[in-house]
Amino acid sequence: MKDQHLINVTVNGAEHEVLVESRRTLADVLRHDLGYTGTHLGCEHGICGACTILVDGTPARACLMFGVQADGAEVRTVEGLADGDRLSDLQEAFSRRHGLQCGFCTPGFLMLAEAYLAENPAADKEEIRDVVSSNLCRCTGYQGIVEAITDVAAARREAS
C-alpha cells in the first residue's frame, strides 16, 4: 500500500493539486508530476544547488524537501523568471556575461541570486561570490556568474 497524500502547491502563480507518496522529493514532484523540468538535479544530496527553488520566497534545495512539505506553499522555479519571451534582468545578465555554458547549474544559480538580491539589493561582488559558493558549476569557473549578479545588483541600485 502506497502512503499517499493530496497536497496543494502553487508554482509560479499556478495552483496545483497533486497526489504524492510521502517519500517523493519536491524536486520529483515539480519535475515529473507537474512538468517543471527547469529545476535540475545534479546530486540529490544537497550539495550542488542545481535544484535550488524558492519556497515562500526563501531559497531551498528541492532535492532535500519532500513534496508533502510543500503543501500549501508558494513555490517559484526558473520557469517563472521570464515574462513570456522577455528575459529578466538576471537572465539577460547571465547571457551577456557568459555565466552559463552547459546551462545545467543555471536554474539553481538564478533562483539563488533572485532571492539574495531581493533581500540585499546593495550586495557587492565579494558578498555575491561568497553567496554563490553554495552552488556548484562545473563549466564556467564562476566568474561570469559572479559578474552577472554583480551587474544586476548595480543596475537595480541605480534604478532605485
Binding site: K2, T37, E44, C48, S95, H98, Q101, F104, C139
Partner: protein, 785 residues
C-alpha cells in the same frame, strides 16, 4: 548597445565577434531539454544492482525477490540478457584486448560494477527492487594500486592479461644513457597525480525505446559521441546500424567522461528491446562518483640531462597509468599512456628521448579520457624538471625555460610530431612582464611575514587530431574527419549539420557564425543541427578539442560551396557572371552595379518553388556537403599560465591571489566563448591541483561517495582568471582556429604546483604530487622551522 547582435559597426565578419549565444534563452528559462526532462508515455525506470566488492566470483544471482517488489516489471542478470560485451581494440602487438561485459557475469572487477538491471514503474520502485537482489559472491584477492598490480604474485584482473598490463609500449627507444653519463646536470622527478572524476553536473543517462514505425531503436542519451554510441549499440545488440537512432538532447557537461560508451546505456537499451517499452536510466551522483568513468591516475619517473647552460640534452621517461578494471570503447585503456609518451616533450626542444609507457589494470572503476588527457601530467613533469634544473644550476627558471622553448616553426620533434607555429616565447614573455609590472615579484620577495610564491607553466595543447593522427594510435575505430551539410530552405533559412556534438561549448552559435560569414547572412538565419544520427552524417562528436578546428572547417567548406551555388543562380537572375556577385547581409549584389541586387531569400525561392527560372543545367534545391580533416599531426594551441599563491602557515591552505593566462588558439571565433572555456578549464585544473581526489581503501572501496568528500571547488576557491589572447592563425585548418577546450585544465596544475613550491623555496621541500593538500603544505612548512 549591450545584448545586441554582436556586430560592431564597420566589422566585416561574424567570426571574431562575441555574438550572444543562441543556446542561452532556452537554458535560462528552464526550456532546455536534458535527458531526464524527456517524457515518453509509458516510460519505465531502470536502476542497477551493483557489486559491493571490488573483486569477487559471482556464484549466483537471485532476482526473484526483486521481481516481486511492488512496481517492478522486470529484472535481468547477465545470463538473462545474454549480450556479448564491448571490446575496444588497438591494432598493435603490445596491447591485449579484453571485454567489458554489459553486466558482470562470473566475476566482478570493481566496486560498483553492474550485476543486474531492474526495471520498474518509477525510479523509487526500481530502487526498492535493487535492495531485494541476492547475489552470492566469493571475495577474491584484489589490486588497488600500480605497485600491487605489478607485484610478482599479484592476482590478475583479467586472465588474459600478463602482469595486469593492458598495454606496454616503448615508442621511443633512443639509447640515451651515454648522454646522461656525460651530462653536466641530471635531474629527476617522480611525479604522481590522483584519480579524478570529470564530474559533469548532469550525470549520465538515457532513454531507450523501440519504435515500430521506423523499425528502429531510438536512444536519447547524454553523450559527446552520438555516432559512436550508435555503432556500439548496433554491435552489442545485433542490430543493423540503420536500426539504431541516437539522439543527444541538451547535455549538462561531459569533459570526456561522456565520450566513451557506457555499459549501463546498453543494458537499458537491451531492456527496452525486451520489454518493448521505453526505459529510462538516470545515473545518481553516488553511482557517478564511484562507478562511472574516472581518469588521471598516473605515475611518472622521469630523468632529464641538461648542459651547464640549462639546455636539455635528453629525456628518459617511465610512465605508468592506473586505468582501472576495463578498457573502454572505443578509445581503449591506451589513451593515457600513448598520449603521455608521445607528447611529453611539450613546448621544449628535446634532442634525445626514450620513453616507456603502460596501462595497468586494477580493481577500480575504468578510466575514460578526461579533459586534457595526460597533458596535465606531462606539463607537470616538464615544468618540474625545468624548475629543478634551474635550482641545481643556479639559474633563473624562466631563463632555463627560454633556452629550451621551441622557437622555429614548423618544428619536428624527436617524437615525430610536427608542431605548427605558435607564440611559445611571446606568451611566456608577456605573462612574466605583466606579473612583474603588477608588482607580484616585489610582494613575494618583500613579504617576510607572508608565504607567497609565483608559478608559471608553459605548454601546448595538441588539438584537432585528424584521421592521420588518430590512425597512429592504431585504434580499430579511427576518428578524425568531420562532415557537414548545409541546406537552405525555400524561405532562405539555413540548416547546418555537424558531426560534432556540443555539451556546453556553444556550437550552435560559433558554427552559425562561420556559416553566416560564408553565406552573407546573420547567424540567426542559421540553425545548427547536431547530435542526431538520423539527421547528420557519420561524425565523431566532440572531444579532444576537435569541434571548432575540424567541425568548423567542414561547416566553412560546405557553406562556401552553397554560397557558390547561390551566386551562380543570382548571376543568372541578374544577368551577369557569378564572379561579379557578392553575398552580403541577405543580398546577392552585383559588384559592378550598386543597383543590381536580389535578396538571397529570392534565390532560395527560385531554387525550390520557381525552378523554371534556374539556369538550364542546374538541379533544383540548395544544399551542399563537405568533409574536412587535419592532415598533419594536429594543431597546437599554446599558453603560459602565471599564478601567485599564498600559503597559510596555520592551516596549510593554498589561496590563489592572481591568475593570468596568456594563450594562443589561432583565430578566435567567439571571444566570449573562448574565454569561458579557458576559465572553466582553469577551474578544473585548480581542482586537480588542490582539491579533488578519489582515493581507495585497501578493500578497493572508493573514499569519496558524495560531494561532501569529493571537493569540487566553489566560487570561493576559484579566483578571477584574467586572459590575454595572442593570435597565430593555424595553417592546417580551414578556419585558422586551433582547438582550445582543454588548455586551461592542462596548464593549471603545473602552474599552481610551481607556485606552491616557489612559496616553499626556503624549506628545502619540493612537492611532486597533486592534489597539494593542506597537510602536505603544513608538513613542508614545518621543515623550515
Amino acid at each position: 548597445m549591450s545584448g545586441g547582435d554582436g556586430r560592431v559597426t564597420g566589422q566585416r565578419t561574424w567570426v571574431g565577434a562575441s555574438v550572444p549565444r543562441k543556446e542561452d534563452p532556452r537554458l535560462l528559462t528552464g526550456r532546455g531539454r536534458f535527458v531526464d526532462d524527456l517524457r515518453q508515455a509509458g516510460a519505465l525506470s531502470a536502476a542497477f544492482v551493483r557489486s559491493p566488492l571490488a573483486a569477487a566470483q559471482i556464484n549466483a544471482v537471485d532476482l526473484s525477490g526483486v521481481r516481486s517488489v511492488d512496481g517492478v516489471l522486470a529484472a535481468f542478470s547477465a545470463a538473462d540478457l545474454g549480450l556479448s560485451g564491448l571490446t575496444a581494440l588497438l591494432e598493435r602487438a603490445e596491447f591485449t584486448p579484453t571485454t567489458m561485459p554489459i553486466l558482470a557475469a562470473d566475476r566482478v572487477r570493481y566496486a560498483g560494477e553492474p550485476v543486474a538491471i531492474v526495471v520498474a514503474d518509477d525510479p523509487y520502485a526500481a530502487e526498492d527492487g535493487i535492495e531485494q537482489a541476492i547475489v552470492d559472491y566469493s571475495p577474491g584477492r584484489l589490486v588497488t594500486s600500480i605497485g600491487d598490480a605489478l607485484a610478482a604474485d599479484a592476482p590478475s584482473v583479467h586472465d588474459e592479461l600478463r602482469a595486469n598490463t593492458f598495454l606496454a609500449v616503448n615508442p621511443f627507444s633512443d639509447d640515451v644513457d651515454e648522454v646522461f653519463a656525460a651530462a653536466e646536470c641530471v635531474v629527476r622527478t617522480s611525479l604522481s597525480s590522483q584519480r579524478q572524476n570529470a564530474l559533469p553536473l548532469e550525470p549520465r543517462g538515457c532513454l531507450a525505446e523501440w519504435v515500430d514505425r521506423d523499425d528502429q531503436l531510438v536512444v536519447h542519451i547524454s553523450s559527446q559521441v552520438p555516432h559512436q554510441v550508435r555503432t556500439a549499440l548496433a554491435r552489442c545488440l545485433g542490430l543493423r546500424e540503420r536500426q539504431v537512432r541516437v539522439i543527444v538532447p541538451d547535455v549538462g557537461g561531459g569533459f570526456g567522461l561522456k565520450c566513451v560508451v557506457g555499459r549501463e546505456e546498453i543494458a537499458v537499451a537491451a531492456a527496452a528491446l525486451r520489454l518493448r517499452r521505453p526505459v529510462k536510466w538516470i545515473e545518481d551522483r553516488r553511482e557517478g562518483l564511484f562507478a562511472s568513468f574516472l581518469g588521471r591516475e598516473q605515475r611518472h619517473q622521469v630523468r632529464a640531462a641538461f648542459d651547464g647552460d640549462g639546455r636539455i640534452l635528453a629525456l628518459d621517461a617511465d610512465i605508468r597509468c592506473d586505468v582501472g578494471a576495463y578498457s573502454v570503447f572505443p578509445f581503449t585503456s591506451g589513451v593515457e599512456p600513448l598520449m603521455a609518451a608521445a607528447e611529453l616533450p611539450g613546448v621544449y626542444q628535446v634532442p634525445r628521448y626514450r620513453a616507456r609507457a603502460c596501462a595497468i589494470a586494477t580493481n577500480k572503476a575504468p578510466t575514460a579520457p578526461y579533459r586534457g588527457v595526460s597533458r596535465p601530467q606531462i606539463v607537470l613533469v616538464m615544468e618540474r624538471l625545468m624548475e629543478r634544473a634551474a635550482r641545481e644550476l643556479g639559474l633563473d627558471a624562466l631563463v632555463v625555460r627560454r633556452r629550451n622553448l621551441i622557437d622555429t616553426f614548423p618544428y619536428i620533434g624527436v617524437n615525430g610530431i610536427t608542431y605548427d607555429p605558435g607564440s611559445y616565447r611571446e606568451s611566456l614573455d608577456r605573462c612574466e612582464q605583466r606579473l612583474r609590472e603588477e608588482g607580484w615579484f616585489e610582494l613575494r620577495d618583500g613579504a617576510a611575514d607572508r608565504v607567497i610564491g609565483i608559478g608559471f607553466a608553459c605548454f601546448n595543447e595538441r588539438t584537432g587530431y585528424g584521421t592521420e593522427a588518430f590512425a597512429q594510435r592504431k585504434m580499430s575505430v579511427v576518428p578524425g574527419y568531420d562532415i557537414s551539410e548545409v541546406r537552405m530552405d525555400p524561405g532562405g533559412g539555413v540548416t547546418v549539420t555537424t558531426g560534432t556534438s556540443a555539451h556546453g561549448q556553444g556550437h550552435e552559435t560559433t558554427l552559425a557564425q562561420i556559416a553566416a560569414d560564408q553565406l552573407g547572412l546573420r547567424p540567426d538565419a542559421v540553425k545548427v543541427r547536431q547530435g542526431d544520427t538520423d539527421q547528420v552524417s557519420y561524425g565523431w562528436g566532440t572531444f579532444a578539442s576537435r569541434s571548432a578546428a575540424i567541425g568548423g572547417g567542414a561547416v566553412r567548406l560546405a557553406s562556401g560551396k552553397l554560397a557558390t551555388r547561390i551566386r551562380v543562380i543570382a548571376a543568372h537572375l541578374l544577368d551577369t557572371d557569378e564572379d561579379n556577385i557578392d553575398l552580403d547581409d541577405g543580398w546577392c549584389r552585383r559588384r559592378d552595379d550598386p543597383d543590381g541586387a536580389v535578396p538571397i531569400a529570392e534565390v532560395a525561392e527560385v531554387a525550390y518553388l520557381r525552378a523554371h527560372r534556374l539556369p538550364k543545367d542546374l538541379d533544383p534545391g540548395l544544399s551542399a556537403q563537405a568533409t574536412f580533416d587535419v592532415l598533419t599531426s594536429g594543431t597546437f594551441s599554446n599558453a603560459t599560465h602565471g599564478v601567485v599563491a599564498e600559503l597559510d602557515p596555520r592551516t596549510g591552505q593554498t589561496r590563489l591571489l592572481r591568475y593570468l593566462v596568456v594563450e594562443d588558439c589561432g583565430v578566435v571565433i567567439n571571444p566570449k566563448i573562448v574565454d569561458g572555456q579557458v576559465r572553466g578549464g582553469v577551474a578544473q585544473g585548480i581542482a586537480g591541483a588542490l582539491y579533488e581526489q578519489i582515493g581507495y581503501d585497501a578493500d578497493g572501496q572508493p573514499t569519496a561517495g558524495s560531494l561532501i568528500d569529493y571537493l569540487v571547488p566553489t566560487a570561493a576557491e576559484i579566483p578571477e582568471i584574467d586572459i590575454e589572447h595572442l593570435e597565430t592563425p593555424c595553417a592546417f585548418t580551414e578556419t585558422g582556429a586551433k582547438g582550445m577546450g582543454e588548455g586551461g585544465t592542462i596548464g593549471a596544475p603545473a602552474a599552481v604546483l610551481n607556485a606552491v613550491n616557489d612559496a616553499l623555496r626556503d624549506t628545502g621541500v619540493e612537492l611532486d604530487a597533486v592534489p597539494i593538500t593542506p597537510e602536505h603544505v603544513l608538513r613542508a612548512l614545518e621543515c623550515s622551522r
